[in-house]
């Protein structure tokens, strides 16, 4: 990847730049972070003119290594007020890589009174009028594929992003063209929306074949990696068959499954919404339903799925653990059809299901509708779709909704909603939520895999720190996080894979150092943006209100948090 494309929406112009030497060893989240750090005023308004969006594949983007085609998008988050990277699988990273695009920078703000989309192929970079603005992502995607054919990869926002709702994410299309692989967290869909950009269409047809530094050696390493992935119980068996939904039985068992706005850690209907039940529904209904589905071309883990309705017609794809948590147990909804329907509604509006699940949970907790009222939840999403005053509040996410409703039980860290692990049940994740520059983000350092007592505060600081570093490595390589347990013990091998692909010589220790450096860049940006250690905390109700049955509170000492940034 040898070029950076810069699109200035204020001028309606673009430039193609060579990659500066200092950016060569960076990719994915490390690259988006560094560009934002270098170019964006940390004090700027996230929904203002001076914020930028940077899309970047990882260092391994475009290679045929399994599970290495994740896309990062970076910017200043309108939810956290700090550095944000959101990340997804899908096809866009591969398409950008094939065109040799190391980063795509979107800056400025369109002065036009209509939305545009950016079209990119081998010969063309052009802004075009987006007459499909206002449409949900599913119908907009259909239109784009009719116009450009199915070799195109789409990056889209929904009406939520167009209106600047802070719960809005950015989505990109999977191998079959579904616009449902979300770079969901942190409200970057709103940033794209206020800039007046509806979509980015990338067609890599006819692009020169990607060259490898040593293709044969790379092939051998890929074979080894595939073997490791297939032999590992999680990547070889649990994820392919049951998907991320299998996590629900685990978190439910250790009282970490968010239930009724994080008021309990286990849900009486958990066995109706977990991985085993999901597998049963998908396989017994058949039709368009599928388990073992790949979101990225060539991935051998295939943790995704296609959820069918009772008639076997596709309802939503994928149906993930996070949605089962935040829009299921967290709302006291114990029915996968209801959850799948809510998932579809959020997707179409271009909204993050974690953020919206937490938002609706707060609304239920404050009595707007009852816990368990799936129709009521769908009605709230209709309000969002219709841009009513209530919809506008809800679309701004859980913190703003909670403030308007007067809640003192808002499950956020740095303004972003917590994912489906109650920090009182998985205390290491609590540390990550509080200390990560990303805010409450499980993908920034998940400790669930460690064989420790998750309710014991003692080992959690070190665990979170290690997990945050490893997550950053995955994020700048473009790797799916799920490969890390198989590969994390073989960082030297990962460095070698990188060298065989793009010629960048990097050892396992250097990978760790690069990850630490990238985290420092994020923390420094946040510091300059006005985020102080005072924001490295969790909501007080999680420190004071014990979870039922376990009586657990979040009790990792706040002082210790300073250490995570000082070492």
């Amino acid at each position: 990847m040898d070029k950076i494309i810069r699109v200035n929406l204020s001028e309606g112009a673009f430039t193609i730049e060579p990659v500066p030497e200092r950016y060569r060893p960076l990719g994915g989240r490390a690259l988006t972070g560094k560009i934002i750090f270098d170019e964006v005023d940390p004090g700027c308004e996230p929904l203002g003119l001076r914020n930028k969006l940077v899309f970047a594949p990882g260092l391994l983007g475009g290679s045929f290594l399994s599970s290495s085609s994740r896309l990062s998008v970076g910017g200043k988050s309108p939810l956290t007020g700090g550095m944000k990277e959101a990340n997804a699988g899908g096809t866009a990273a591969g398409a950008l890589s094939k065109l040799g695009i190391k980063a795509l920078i979107i800056e400025g703000e369109s002065p036009l009174d209509y939305f545009q989309y950016l079209y990119v192929d081998k010969e063309t970079i052009e802004l075009r009028p987006a007459e499909m603005a206002g449409q949900g992502v599913y119908s907009a995607a259909k239109l784009f594929f009719e116009r450009y054919g199915d070799k195109a990869s789409l990056i889209l926002i929904g009406p939520g992003g167009e209106r600047g709702y802070r719960a809005a994410g950015i989505t990109n299309t999977d191998v079959q063209g579904r616009p449902s692989r979300f770079l969901g967290r942190g409200g970057l869909g709103a940033v794209m929306g206020v800039k007046g950009l509806k979509a980015i269409i990338i067609d890599p047809t006819g692009a020169e074949a990607i060259t490898y530094h040593d293709r044969k050696a790379f092939q051998e390493l890929n074979k080894e990696m595939v073997k490791l992935l297939k032999e590992n119980p999680a990547t070889g068996e649990v994820y392919p068959k049951y998907g991320t939904a299998a996590m629900a039985t685990r978190t439910n068992a250790i009282h970490a499954l968010p239930t009724r706005n994080f008021s309990a850690g286990s849900f009486e209907c958990a066995n109706r919404i977990d991985g085993e039940y999901l597998h049963y529904i998908i396989t017994s209904r058949g039709g368009a339903g599928e388990t073992t589905h790949a979101c990225m071309p060539g991935c051998v883990i295939k943790c995704s799925n296609i959820y069918p309705d009772a008639e076997g017609k596709e309802l939503v794809a994928p149906l993930e653990y996070e949605t089962i948590g935040l829009m299921g147990s967290n709302l006291s909804i114990g029915n996968l059809d209801d959850i799948a329907h809510l998932n579809y509604l959020c997707n179409d509006l271009g909204l993050d299901t974690i953020e919206m699940g937490a938002t609706i949970g707060v609304a239920m907790d404050m009595g707007l509708i009852s816990f368990g009222d799936a129709d009521g939840a769908a009605a709230l999403l209709s309000e969002v779709a219709d841009d009513t005053i209530l919809g506008r509040v809800l679309g701004q996410g859980a913190l703003i909704t909670g403030k308007v409703l007067g809640s003192r039980r808002i499950p956020v860290a740095k303004g972003q909603s917590m994912p489906a692990y109650d920090p009182r049940g998985v205390k290491g994740l609590g540390v990550t939520y509080a200390t990560s520059p990303m805010g409450a983000d499980h993908t920034a350092g998940n400790t669930i895999r460690a064989e420790v007592d998750h309710s014991d505060p003692a080992p959690q600081l070190a665990l979170s720190r290690r997990a945050q570093t490893l997550a950053m490595i995955a994020d700048f390589m473009g790797l799916c996080l799920f490969v890390m347990p198989a590969l994390g013990a073989h960082l030297d091998k990962l460095g070698l894979i990188c060298e065989q692909y793009c010629g960048l010589k990097i050892s396992g220790d250097e990978l760790l150092a690069a990850a630490e450096k990238a985290l420092q860049v994020e923390r420094e940006f946040n510091r300059r943006a006005g985020l102080s250690p005072a924001q490295d905390r969790l909501p007080e109700f999680m420190m004071d209100e014990p979870l039922p049955v376990t009586g657990s509170v979040f009790d990792v000492p706040l002082d210790e948090f300073r250490k995570i940034n000082e070492d």
């Binding site: 119980p233 999680a234 068996e237 649990v238 994820y239 068959k241 049951y242 998907g243 991320t244 939904a245 299998a246 996590m247 039985t249 685990r250 068992a253 250790i254 009282h255 066995n271 991985g275 085993e276 039940y277 597998h279 049963y280 943790c303 993930e320 653990y321 996070e322 499980h442 993908t443 998940n446 669930i448 895999r449 064989e451 007592d453 998750h454 309710s455 996080l481 799920f482 890390m484 347990p485 049955v549 376990t550």
Partner: protein
């Protein structure tokens, strides 16, 4: 895998010699626990009759660690990433007691 005579508090151990003679060897206090296997583990233990809802009863000497049970079940330790006893997380060295309800899960890194 319900064992006959599961209400008996003791296990008699016998040793059969090569000539076919059987001698009573000793007695150990035994206990009964309930074991539930989740998702992929259900296919890895021979004779596991439990469904997603069910569990099976197992008889073991009192106080053996979870790791001992894994050996008895012939379940490779790397397949077990999370153990929960009576609703609380436990380690492989947890000493099992009579009436314990044990759930076993394979590892997952996230989701």
């Amino acid at each position: 895998m319900k064992q006959p005579g599961s209400s008996m508090p003791v296990i008699f151990f016998a040793h059969r010699f090569f000539n076919g003679e059987q001698r009573f060897k000793g007695v150990m206090f035994s206990m009964q626990i309930k074991v539930r296997l989740h998702d992929i583990l259900q296919d890895k233990v021979a004779g596991y009759a439990g469904s997603a809802e069910g569990a099976f009863d197992y008889q073991l000497p009192v106080g053996v660690p979870v790791s001992h049970l894994l050996k008895v079940l012939e379940l490779d330790s790397r397949y077990v990433g999370l153990m929960v006893v009576n609703g609380r997380q436990a380690g492989k060295d947890y000493s099992l007691q009579d009436g314990d309800r044990l759930e076993l899960f394979s590892p997952m890194s996230g989701g």
